[in-house]
Structures are given as structure tokens and as C-alpha cells.
């Protein structure tokens, strides 16, 4: 089920480094440009790609990702279109894991069974659904595992040792540690605290632990890569894309704006040798 994800972490480990996980929004600023961006990510240094499912009310996201989702929706992106985007990416790349990340309602309206079947067929490897804590596992997590898709859970600074086992129970692929209490793209985390939190989570699981929220530069990525198995960058890439737009539409440098930053982040991750 998690073959592509496992292989990627194994490859990074073999290369003595952490993995770089990049997030971009499906359909931002338009479906074709988003596909071009996603296709360019692996060569730029991304090991795993998170594709955002646009939603009108992303309660855990900051203004950058919120605006990104609204641009995508305005450009006509919907859940079916996002699954199609993955299918087209997968045609040219059999190895880079694709994780869909978003909120439950669009999936719920698409129909859970149908969504899982279509996503699996398109080559999706896993799901991150922000508003489904373990308490709501019956909604999507358990059906996803049954359908052969990893359900990747967020652990946060408020997830204490008592709660961690519940959070990790049905998690597959990797664990996503949210470095701050807050929304995406807000504060820069305290790297020391993050390192000890990663250590704490690793005491409870053998899964790779990746860290995201607030990682903006190659130096941040390097700092996180010291302890974590992977570094997630989202808002910084979405913001770079936004800055490249001309009158709200894709500009001549849109793809390069994203890949350029991914290159810097990949260099940051690769600057830290891991045993």
C-alpha cells in the first residue's frame, strides 16, 4: 500500500539525508500551470508531493494557502479535476509519491467510496485530511486503509504522550509533525523544541516523521532535517507562485519561481548528513 512512499524514504536514507516534501495547490493559478509545476517538482529536488485539494473554508491554513485555494476554485478546479491532475502526472512519473491534502467536505460530497477508488486508480498514494482527527476515523481513515491508501495523520505540539498512540494507531506511510500550534505559513518554529518533539514521536513509532508548518528557507529546512526524516514546505512555495503571477494569471516565470525555491530547499535538506 505504501510502496512508493516507503521506497522514497529508503532512497533518502540510503543517500544519508532527509526527504523533501513539497506542497502545491491543485489548479493554482490554473489547471495546466499547476500540472506543469507538479511535473517539474521531482527534478527540482522534491521527494514527495502533497497536492492541495482546494476548499473554500480551510480553517487550519493561513492567508497564502487560503488565497491559493480560492484562485484554484476560481479557475474551475474541483475534486474530479484534482484526481485527473494526479492521473496525468502519474503517466510520466511512476515513482514520486503523491499525497492529497485537504478538508473532508469536498471528499464527502464526491462520495468516500468513489473518491478512494478514483484516487487509487489515478495513482494517489496517501491522504492528509486536516479536519479528521482519530475520533472520526470511521469516516475516511479506515475506508482509505481498506482501499489501499495511506492515511497520514498530523501530530501536533498539543498531542501529548497519552494521546499519541491514538493518533499513530491507523497512520501509514509517515507521520506529519506540525511544528507549531497554529496555521500554515505563520510563525517560524523553535527548532530545538521540534527536535525533541520528533524524538518523542519516534519513541512511539517506526514510521518516518516529517515536519512542516513555518519552514520557509533552505536554512530552516536544514535545521529541521537534523532530527526529522523529512521536511514539508507548503506556504513558501505557494507564496513564491503567487508572486510570479501577472494580473492573477500564470506569468512567464511561474514554474521556475516554484522550482527555484524547491532547489534551494533541497540543497538545505541535502546539506545535513544523516547516519
Amino acid at each position: 500500500m505504501t510502496a512508493r512512499i516507503d521506497a522514497r524514504f529508503a532512497k533518502a536514507r540510503a543517500e544519508g539525508r532527509a526527504a523533501l516534501v513539497t506542497y502545491v495547490m491543485a489548479g493554482d493559478p490554473d489547471p495546466e500551470t499547476a500540472l506543469a509545476v507538479i511535473r517539474a517538482l521531482p527534478a527540482a529536488g522534491a521527494d514527495i508531493i502533497e497536492v492541495g485539494l482546494p476548499f473554500t473554508d480551510p480553517m487550519a491554513d493561513g492567508p497564502a494557502i487560503q488565497a491559493s485555494g480560492l484562485r484554484a476554485l476560481k479557475a474551475g478546479q474541483d475534486t474530479a479535476g484534482t484526481i485527473d491532475l494526479v492521473r496525468r502526472f502519474r503517466d510520466g512519473d511512476a515513482h514520486t509519491p503523491i499525497i492529497l491534502m485537504g478538508y473532508f467536505n469536498p471528499i464527502y460530497q464526491y462520495g468516500v467510496e468513489r473518491f478512494l477508488a478514483d484516487a487509487k486508480a489515478a495513482g494517489v498514494d496517501g491522504l492528509i485530511v486536516v479536519d479528521l482527527p482519530p475520533e472520526e476515523d470511521a469516516e475516511l481513515c479506515l475506508p482509505a486503509l481498506e482501499a489501499g491508501l495511506a492515511f497520514i495523520r498530523l501530530a501536533t505540539p498539543t498531542t501529548d504522550d497519552k494521546r499519541l498512540p491514538a493518533v499513530l494507531a491507523n497512520t501509514a506511510g509517515f507521520v506529519y509533525y506540525v511544528s507549531i500550534t497554529g496555521i500554515t505559513g505563520a510563525a517560524t518554529p523553535d527548532f530545538g523544541k521540534v527536535a525533541s518533539a520528533v524524538e518523542r514521536i519516534k519513541r512511539h513509532t517506526d514510521l518516518p516523521v516529517v515536519v512542516g508548518f513555518g519552514v520557509k528557507t533552505g536554512a530552516h529546512a536544514a535545521a529541521i532535517a537534523q532530527g526529522a526524516d523529512g521536511v514539508v514546505v507548503g506556504t513558501a512555495l505557494v507564496s513564491a507562485l503567487e508572486r510570479s503571477l501577472v494580473d492573477g494569471a500564470a506569468g512567464p516565470g511561474t514554474v521556475e519561481a516554484v522550482t527555484g525555491l524547491v532547489g534551494e530547499l533541497a540543497a538545505g535538506v541535502r546539506s545535513v548528513a544523516k547516519g
Binding site: 473554500t56 473554508d57 480553517m59 487560503q66 464527502y108 460530497q109 482527527p133 500550534t181
Partner: protein, 413 residues
Amino acid sequence: MTAPQKPNSFRNGPDETGHFGMFGGRFVAETLMPNILELEAAYEAAKADPEFERELRSYATHYVGRPSPLYYAERLTEHVRETAGAGQGAKIYLKRDELNHTGAHKVNNVLGQILLARRMGKKRIIAETGAGQHGVATATLCARFGLECIVYMGAVDVERQKPNVFRMEMLGATVVPCQSGSKTLKDAMNEALRDWVTNVETTFYCIGTVAGPHPYPAMVRDFQCVIGEEVRWQMQEAEGRGPDSLIAAIGGGSNAIGLFHPFLDDENVEIYGVEAAGRGIDTGEHAASITGGKPGVLHGNRTYLLMDGDGQITEAHSISAGLDYPGIGPEHSWLADVGRVTYTSATDKEALDAFQLMSKLEGIIPALEPSHAIAKAVEIAAGKPRDHIMVINLCGRGDKDIFTVAEHLRGGL
């Protein structure tokens, strides 16, 4: 969807996981989950503590001004009877929660939550507000207890509810206008949730209606049930018996559930919830989630929502800022599905007419929110016999709405 099974009692919900049938639940980010569980435990402990009950009752009496009167609306009743058929025209009572301190039912819930926040040692209070009534009530109680208060309010609502913005500021609260999305109540709730997820250790989120993740829908309902509980004994005193029907406006649905819940198992009591039909359900510009929406997940719970085919939340419309929300409390969704409560809707125009009718006939200027209930009450009452007793929840006063109403009636004050 198959029809849900009728329960033995309509008053037992939610179950321990926070569900009313398929509705409710806890659809929140992991960061908030430990806090929500802590809140649930704190609320359960408070409920079991007679001292909490005593404190709540004491402030409700001396600070809020409860009980609010149950008033026989004689002239409104006469008006209905003039147009009704022979022997028809129900006797209409008003539950006057607009006379509460701060001018609406909202304070009942805020008082409970703020006393709970104090027990939990939380010193920073956040709230979302639409019409501003919940924001004012929260700012008021925070002033009373010396707590920091931040109120999130859609930029559109800040504009159309200026008196309440000023009121909140006078009370020492910080009002944060939200510029995202439709710039109304739903966006204010998004921003409040973002604040909470960021300041989770220090902050108590005082939700203004019977929505959000469990335990909020049940907790807010419990604090609002004082409305229906008073109606029960007040009607006994006034008429020697209980009411035959209850009617209330519904945005999130807290005033309505407060009136309805104590009577849900009184089989003979007809219960009506009135949603905001805005410019008309068929125009798509409305805020009637049950009448014009379908089940979905937003703001921590599964409930009826306004959305497009892709599950994207659509903008609600109502002349009343307090009803301008694309969802409804999950318990109402369940009560609609099991058929215990009849949900109907009133347009902006009908609400404006009822606003004027109540003002002229009874000398009571209602808020635009209960004006929706008044509009439908007058219709329903006309079809009932004269010995039928109906209670309208007059959940807020209209001072805050005079600018909006003047704008519609004569292009401004």
C-alpha cells in the same frame, strides 16, 4: 438517505461521541482535539457541581435579568384573528428574551461559557459574531470578569452592524474585521478557529451558537434551555397549562433549541423553526440550510450546509446578519430528519413586514432575526383555533437593525 429511526426520547442527544444521529461530531484539526476533550471534561464536571449551577442562576437573575417575561401579545393576536376564518386565530405569547441585558438571548450562553472559562483558568476569550449580539454579550461578560476579549466579525457585518461594533469597543473588546471569503459569520468563525489553533493553551473559544465540534452544540443548548424551562412554568401560571406550539428563528439555532428542547418530548406541542429565505429559496440567495442545503462537514460538525456540487461552501444571504450563515446546528439537522420539528423559512421582505407589524402593534421593536419567526407565526396562527396557544421566541431587540431597516424602507436614516 434512509429515514432515521424515531428515538424513545428526543432529548437524549448527543451520544458520547457528540453525534445526533448522523449529525454533529468533532471534525477539527488535531491541534484542537486535546483542548476540546479538556473542555468536555470541564463542562461535565461543572454540570455536576451544584456551586456552578448556583453561580449561573445568581448571575442570570441579578446581572442578566432573568426570568424574562412571557407576554400575551394581545394586539398581534387580534390582528391575526381579524384576517383568520371564524373561530380561528391562535393566542400568541412572546417570550421576551430581548429584554435580557445586552438585548438578546445570546447572553444566556455566554454567561455559562465565561463562568466555565473562569473555572478552567482561561484568561483570553475569543468569539465570532454575525449580527454582533454574541460579540456584545461576550464583550460584556469579559468586562464584568476582567478577561481579555477578541471578537472576530466579517467585514461586511462590521459595516452593517456599526452600533454593536462600537458597543463592543466601549466594553473593552478588540473587534477584528475578517476580509476573507464572504466577509460574514462563516469567515469570522474560520478566523476564530485559526486564532484558537494558534493560542490553544491560553484561550477559551466562546462559540455563539449550537454549532461547532462537540461539546459545543450540547453545551450551548444546555445554557439556552433556560428559555424553554421558564416558558413551561410561566405558561402554567398564565394559562394553567402548557403551550400548543412554539416558533423561533434559526440561523445557527441557539435561541430556537433553547425554547424547543425542554418541550421535545411533549408530543402534543407543535414546533416550528424558521430559516432565513433571503431573497427567496429559488433565487439561491438565502440562508436556509435545511430547506435549501444538504448534509456536509464544516466548522467541526456534520450538518445541513449550503454548498455547490463539489462541496465548496456557498455564501449565504439574509437581511439579518445573525442568520447569514450557510449552516445550522447539528441537533436541528437531526430534528428535521426525524421529523420532530417542522422547518420553514421567511424571506427578507416578510421579515421586514413583520418587523414593522410588531413595532406598530405591540410597541416592541424586534430584531430582524425573530422578525422571521414573527412572519411565519402570524401565518400559522391564522390557521389554528382560538384556544391554541402559541409562543414566539422574541430572541433579540431591533435597536441594532434600525439602520438596515431604514435603508430598505426609505434609503437610509
